[in-house]
Symmetry: C2
């Protein structure tokens, strides 16, 4: 991505992007301290190379929805149930990032006191990359977990109805000298955006990514966009599609049903414009509840290097571990600029002009 | 499976199978109360239709390993670290089932007091189906989690070395009138046993199940058996193989690294005959920490029925939810007998004769 920066990407900086997001959200009615959290999460995605979840979403997912009245810019985030090691928030249809960070911070605080904790948030909206919240546990020498349900794009195994979100799960585990293990994945095989990219490039999809409206496997991007995404493991059960479906449904249960928020039947589909009705789920536990932290981290390094140093398959240069590429992206983008796709760049410029705020994102 | 019972299966009963397992293990030096737990877990697998993890494993996984001196029949299971909400056991190279149940019971006890808890076990052996332990949470109106690493069968994405077990994860969530959601899955696309079945039947494998010794995708069972299993999501990354690999590595970390047991480099491969060196991981939290239990269960029923009542894809009769088929199997096998494959039956008969115990498994 950074290599293509000259042609299709403009380069910005972490600081400028964050500042811009804060300005835009404040102009849209969001309190500055909350806008800062959104900026932090969105720019973390761009830094990590997950550009689909970064500033590209500022207008369509957040500002546009505030302006359309679908998302509450001044929510009253509140705790509605709490025990020693659990907490449930209601997000009052506000932005997901600030309440997500609040909930994960509370989970970490409780885990610090008692060893482990879980949290959930209901009536929320898209909260960016799940990995961001799981990673908050790392500095506390804890294992972190985060998840969210989403608007519906996908079908269950053997089904044809659009019933499940991309429902990501993220886990973060601290290491020593090696970058932390950060595993953040959607439980569908591919995201909806991938179908759109293939349609634009007029390329056939791979089998196992999607079905058409009738529920048949398809490689036609148009048919797939009218149909549904398939769970991780693909079509049917022969490649484990039921496992991806199980994970997706698990996430909908842990987020939506557990929190008393929207789930399954009441979750919106992607094309509906209404209140987000999204729920999140978080967890954390202390490493030192199980082992001395230094020993654990030394063994994590050993484990991660075991995989990184293993023999690559033909045609591959090496074996990676989860979070490694994103960590390298972050270092590189901090050093030499954060790439922003020209279409996104132009969109942000337009947004700046509409909101009468300065547009100065160039590196 | 039950339909084929007449030809390839003998029918037994839950009670007779359990009694037999207890007798066999007691003769092998295992204390009766522990043998009873093993019987419970193994027969639960047969009842659920997971025959690969049932009494079929009594000799090769447990008794055979005790007789060969690889597994300690009289272990000193002990707690080596503990906080309000976490517990770590050392299994002293004993059977995994009794210590797994002990650890999950302790996790449930701690979660009952404090809201949530986690546990781990090191220096253990194969503990049967992970779902059994997750399901122990159900009667307490908790969400249960269980996992284990295993001897190595699989390769990481882009790699060719045999480095990962089938590393299952299980989650159990209570429902109301509907059977509980019980999701228990290996993080490889298929188990090793499937390659052996295909070899026996002289059938080509599906692409994405395995690689050969060189790390190339293969559909040849012989080549695959000399090679490695692929993670859920298959070969490379285009179908999400990196997600299955991430899950497999996560399990190895949560079980092996966290517990201070064996992991990655020190885990045995399937063909080695030595101490199990397996570790397990457990978790639980109270539903009522988040919502009133009755409301939660009513919503779980709504969620599960939403999927079960959705439209099936062409050629499919209906959509299932995780644990549903296994629940139906259990009811049917309790009613009309537990099928035991004739080869397994003969093996048990041989075992009975070797140990001079009565063989009376017929229904």
């Amino acid at each position: 991505m950074a290599d293509a920066a000259i042609a299709e990407y403009q380069l910005s900086t972490e600081g400028k992007l964050k500042h811009f997001v804060v300005e835009v959200l404040e102009k849209s009615g969001v309190a500055r301290d909350r806008a800062k959290v959104v900026a932090e999460v969105l720019v973390a995605a761009d830094l990590r190379g997950v550009e689909s979840h970064g500033v590209a979403r500022l207008e369509p997912y957040y500002v546009g929805r505030i302006r359309a009245g679908h998302l509450n810019p001044k929510p009253n985030y509140q705790i509605v149930r709490e025990t020693e090691t659990t907490v449930l928030y209601d997000a009052d249809n506000g932005l997901g990032h600030p309440v997500g960070k609040l909930a994960m911070a509370k989970v970490i605080e409780k885990a610090a006191k008692h060893g482990s904790a879980f949290g959930a948030v209901r009536n929320s909206n898209h909260f960016g990359i799940a990995g961001y919240y799981a990673m908050l546990a790392l500095d506390h020498d804890m294992v972190g977990m985060a998840s969210t349900n989403s608007v519906k794009y996908g079908a269950p195994t053997f089904g044809k109805d659009v019933m499940l979100g991309t429902n990501p799960l993220a886990f973060a585990v601290p290491a020593g000298k090696e970058p932390s293990f950060v595993f953040d994945f959607a439980t569908t095989t591919v995201p909806k955006g991938k179908l759109e990219v293939y349609k634009r490039k007029n390329r056939p999809l791979e089998t196992g990514w999607a079905i058409d409206e009738l529920g048949e496997s398809t490689t036609d991007p148009d048919a797939a966009l009218r149909g549904a995404l398939l769970p991780l493991g693909g079509f049917g059960v022969s490649h484990g599609g039921h496992k991806g479906y199980g994970l997706g449904l698990l996430v909908d249960i842990l987020c939506g049903v557990l929190s008393g928020g929207a789930f399954g039947p009441s979750l919106p589909v992607a094309t509906e414009n209404k209140a987000g009705a999204i729920s999140h789920w978080f967890g954390a536990f202390r490493v030192d509840a199980f082992r001395d932290v230094a020993e654990f981290k030394a063994d994590m390094d050993k484990e991660l290097r075991y995989f990184k140093d293993s023999h690559a398959a033909p045609g591959q240069s090496r074996v990676y571990v989860a979070g490694e590429i994103e960590h390298e992206n972050t270092l590189r983008h901090r050093e030499s600029g954060v790439p922003v796709h020209v279409k996104v760049w132009d969109g942000l410029q337009k947004l700046a002009s509409e909101l009468s705020i300065p547009f100065d994102l160039g590196r």
